[in-house]
């Protein structure tokens, strides 16, 4: 009907047979089932419990770190730096492709062995293919007076922890 096609409001189908109805119902319920299957499969594939070490690391008493020292903790991939301004922790993981960087005492910089990225002591990139600076990690002192670092929590750089 030509004049109906120019109507602004959509027109409900007034005529479709049982076959079309059941086809539609069938396909849509299959669609819902498929969507549900995908969601459940995704949830199944994402483990709920990870047997990985806790992201919060206890590094001991603050006084055990000398001023202007850079301490590498390879097991947790953290640099604990005690600068004159205070304490801070950097992630050792290179932001390029995940290799472990290393602190070079003689040159006073952090170097990545994989593709040669270099960073300053505060994590800024000097050169290399790494796209971002090394992230600063949330650092605080526990009630027992121990230094704690949360490896999964990044904080903006240059926020020193003064004790």
């Amino acid at each position: 009907m030509p004049d109906e096609s120019q109507a602004a409001t959509p027109k409900l189908p007034t005529e479709f047979d049982r076959r079309a109805f059941f086809t539609r119902v069938g396909l849509r319920s299959l669609g819902i089932a498929a969507a549900g299957t995908i969601v459940f499969t995704y949830e199944f594939l994402s483990p709920n419990v990870l047997f990985e070490p806790s992201p919060i690391v206890n590094l001991g008493k603050p006084d055990s770190f000398a001023v202007n020292s850079v301490t590498m903790d390879v097991n947790t991939a953290i640099y604990l730096v005690r600068a004159e301004e205070g304490f801070f922790a950097l992630s050792e993981v290179c932001t390029h492709l995940g290799c472990l960087t290393a602190w070079n005492q003689d040159l006073g910089i952090i170097v990545c062995p994989c593709h040669g990225s270099k960073f300053t002591r505060t994590g800024e990139k000097i050169e290399g293919p790494a796209p971002k600076p090394l992230p600063w990690l949330k650092t605080w002192v526990s009630d027992d007076g121990d230094l704690l670092v949360d490896r999964s929590a990044n904080i903006p750089p240059l926020q020193y922890l003064r004790i």
Binding site: V74, N75, A77, H96, L97, C99, L100, V111, C112, P113, C114, H115, G116, P129, P131
Partner: protein, 234 residues
């Protein structure tokens, strides 16, 4: 010819029965099946025995090689110590070399995806089906485009310091220059051959050469920290 038997002609689409097929041969025609009159051989034994022989020879080669050369096994996986250099398996070393010049999004995701997509669509472009020589039509205009594109590619490579990729580009470009100045009537066989090659041939050859060069560089010329080393010096 015998007298034709009685029959009823019609079209039967009864799903429940296997149809009987009938060929109608009308007057002044002949039923001809046009096939290429090529010689054929039987799969068994010709193909199967050749395949078996090839696989047996391959197996012997691999067995002998395995008896003399051991697969590498380094120390146990240590998450706290990254070896220097940390290299991917050889077939990914070309990619790892690219990662040295471009960020991971480009070299690690974009380039491989584009490569795979371009490979997949090759047979769907008409120009690849016709496969006529690249410079045989529209020679002047195509030469122009070729020079501009090559210059652009070289500038791009030099800008990003991808010096190792320059050599294959130059080699392929030289081949294309020869092709641009040749015709199917050229004196030397090489020039006739190059003149007949389509664009897809040049692009694929460039890709093959780049693959070889980048993989070779990643294998032999990269040392600790992915720094450049000359293999004969270390």
């Amino acid at each position: 010819m015998s007298t034709p038997k009685d029959f009823a002609a019609g079209i039967d689409s009864d799903q429940r029965r296997s149809p009987t097929r009938v060929v109608f041969v009308t007057r002044r025609t002949s039923a001809q099946v046009k096939v290429s009159r090529e010689d054929q051989v039987q799969t068994f034994p010709e193909v199967l025995f050749r395949a078996a022989l090839a696989i047996e020879l391959l197996a012997i080669l691999l067995v002998v090689f395995s008896l003399f050369f051991n697969a590498p096994l380094e120390g146990i996986a240590d998450p706290t110590h990254t070896p220097n250099p940390a290299k991917a398996p050889w077939y990914f070393l070309g990619l790892q070399e690219l990662l040295h010049y471009f960020p991971p999004v480009v070299a690690g995701v974009l380039v491989p995806t584009l490569l795979i997509v371009s490979l997949i669509v090759i047979p769907y472009f008409n120009i690849n089906i016709e496969a006529s020589g690249m410079f045989l039509k529209d020679r002047a205009r195509r030469k122009q485009i070729f020079y501009i594109a090559t210059a652009g590619m070289l500038i791009f490579l030099l800008l990003f310091h991808v010096y190792v990729a320059v050599a294959p580009t130059v080699i392929v470009a030289l081949g294309m220059v020869v092709a641009a100045h040749s015709t199917p009537e050229s004196p030397s066989q090489l020039r006739r051959y190059l003149a007949s090659k389509p664009l897809s041939y040049w692009i694929m050859t460039w890709f093959l050469l780049e693959l070889i060069v980048l993989t070779a560089v990643g294998t032999f010329f990269r040392g600790p920290g992915w720094s450049w080393v000359w293999p004969w010096r270390s």
